[in-house]
Symmetry: C2
Subunit: 221 residues, 2 copies
């Protein structure tokens, strides 16, 4: 009986499979990961959401991965031990890669303080033929501490938060990031347009760069 | 000095934020998760990739999450213990939710043998206002075992694979799935079109249902 069933279902299966190229043609864009890194309160989230908004306004499908949508869901089993922080960033890197493979421009907004983890993110993207840029939101720690919208630096200074990046846990600045943005010198809007300009220059927005018909002067340089 | 720096950077930050509605307007579709569940070799992957292909052909942005792109990346730290299998499905559910939130139609193709995990996936989607459908690829175990393209059932029968769903680990059939598809009665193409028909009926493809201008007769019923 089992043999009979086998034969009955042993038909030729036609297995169509969509390609990344099809998704990119549908979206008229190439998948990419824009990896923001920087100290707490350096301006990563503002940059990420500003960039997402500008890209979507122009018809690009962009999506932000940050603590709000990742720490409360995918990574809610993780705390802030060194091991858990590493696993947090590993999963963000892998998830960003899936989004980029699906054709989206994904913007990650995590402190991601260690070089080894950011290098891992870059490596898995490049190995898959996906665009990737590490962008250093380079804001001096005293400026970040002055902003401190959630009072976290103050808590860390009082010893109520342990292992706080910039206070008692190290931040390893990128050695060769694709771009450095200084938020104490340029407005959020200027930073966003500098990143757009970078993306145009690097071909991340190929075919539709004309949507931003301005020169460097608008990009906060 | 710190105070002076604070004031200098304490500008009014204009924080634009893109909405899910904007992404959906850009894509002309609503985000959704189509959650396939069924025994090993039941036809989940064939269904998933066939559905993805058909949706992309018609201009919808769809993406498959399956063992190939998740087990080797995001979840490569996980094995096949009961605990790890649960964590595997939990992460898939959370990742699918992120994709659906980004506006994609994501198709998950995992055995996902336990009701509690599938219910979790449904719950987090509905709580976020995202479309979700659990689709049971209902293929009798003897048919699956007869297909066995990777020889896994044979290995499990010989005791070389422990905890194999359908042999020595339970599969809990859905109690109230949105749809049941019988791959031993219908061709892969018919199954895919039955799912499309379901999505049209449920409004998952609202505004563009005319892209499939045929009645039930094409859907393998």
């Amino acid at each position: 009986m089992i043999d009979a069933k086998v034969k009955a279902t042993n038909i030729v299966w036609h297995n169509p499979q969509a390609t990344k190229a099809q998704r990119e043609a549908l979206l008229n864009q190439r998948g990419a990961t824009i990896w923001l890194t920087g100290l707490p309160s350096s301006g990563k989230s503002t940059t990420a959401y500003g960039l997402e908004f500008e890209l979507i306004e122009k018809g690009f499908l962009a999506y932000v991965l940050d603590g709000d949508n990742v720490r409360h869901g995918l990574n809610k089993d993780l705390g802030f031990s060194a091991e858990d922080r590493a696993e947090n960033i590993r999963r963000v890197a892998e998830t960003a890669k899936l989004f980029a493979d699906a054709g989206l421009i994904v913007i990650t907004s995590f402190i991601s303080p260690y070089r080894v983890e950011r290098d891992f993110a870059r490596r898995i993207h490049l190995a898959a033929g996906l665009n990737f840029a590490e962008i250093y939101i380079d804001t001096p720690v005293e400026v970040c501490e002055g902003r401190d919208p959630k009072g976290l630096y103050a808590k860390a200074r009082r010893g109520e938060l342990k292992g706080f990046t910039g206070i008692d846990d190290p931040y390893e600045p990128p050695l060769s990031p694709e771009l450095v943005c200084r938020t104490e010198e340029f407005s959020p809007r200027e930073v966003v347009f500098r990143i757009i300009e970078f993306m145009v220059e690097e071909g991340f927005l190929e075919g539709r760069a004309h949507l931003w018909p301005y020169g460097r002067s608008c990009a906060g340089k």
